[in-house]
Symmetry: C2
Subunit: 104 residues, 2 copies
């Protein structure tokens, strides 16, 4: 579908992409984490897209099996939500992932 293609293009053309909602503290946490690591994520606020928001959230669910926000991609790879991202960082695996994706 067109939205699916648009998501795939977005996540491959941007180092970090976070599908988010403006009021959500878990989304805030994940955006802050990336900024602290020196990376400016591309943030797509699903609640600011009118009726397109829920549509996008549905397509994301089809693509990632995840229906929640934040929905996080690094180097085109789906890494999960807030807890997954924080875990990856605590294990020391997030920064190497970012460095490798940057290098490409």
């Amino acid at each position: 579908s067109r939205m699916e293609e648009s998501i795939k293009r977005t996540v491959t053309e941007n180092l970090v992409v976070v599908y988010s909602k403006t009021w959500c503290s878990y989304c805030t946490e994940v955006k802050t984490l990336f900024k602290r690591l020196g990376v400016e994520p591309l943030v797509i606020e699903l609640d600011e897209l009118g009726p397109q928001g829920p549509q996008l959230q549905k397509v994301l669910e089809r693509l990632t099996k995840q229906h929640t926000v934040p929905n996080v991609f690094v180097g085109g790879k789906h890494i999960g939500g807030c807890t997954d991202t924080v875990k990856l960082n605590r294990k020391g695996e997030l920064e190497p992932m970012l460095a490798e994706a940057k290098g490409k």
Copy 2:
């Protein structure tokens, strides 16, 4: 106002009250925390009350200066949101507060 009186009654008649939204992970965290401490909070899901939800959230803001969820009360006392509650627990101050309120 009637809603203000209803909130005051609710928070004084229940050991722990959490004003919450069903989809919110910060609210889930706080509910889980109290259950782990052996306390069953009274949970009011603001997104399940139709038009009353936003009204209640406004009155809570007037009463507590807090417009966000979760909005947490222990022993009738406003303690704050998720971060405040977690902090209080880490400092070892939450359980004494619960014990004292239970005693009353």
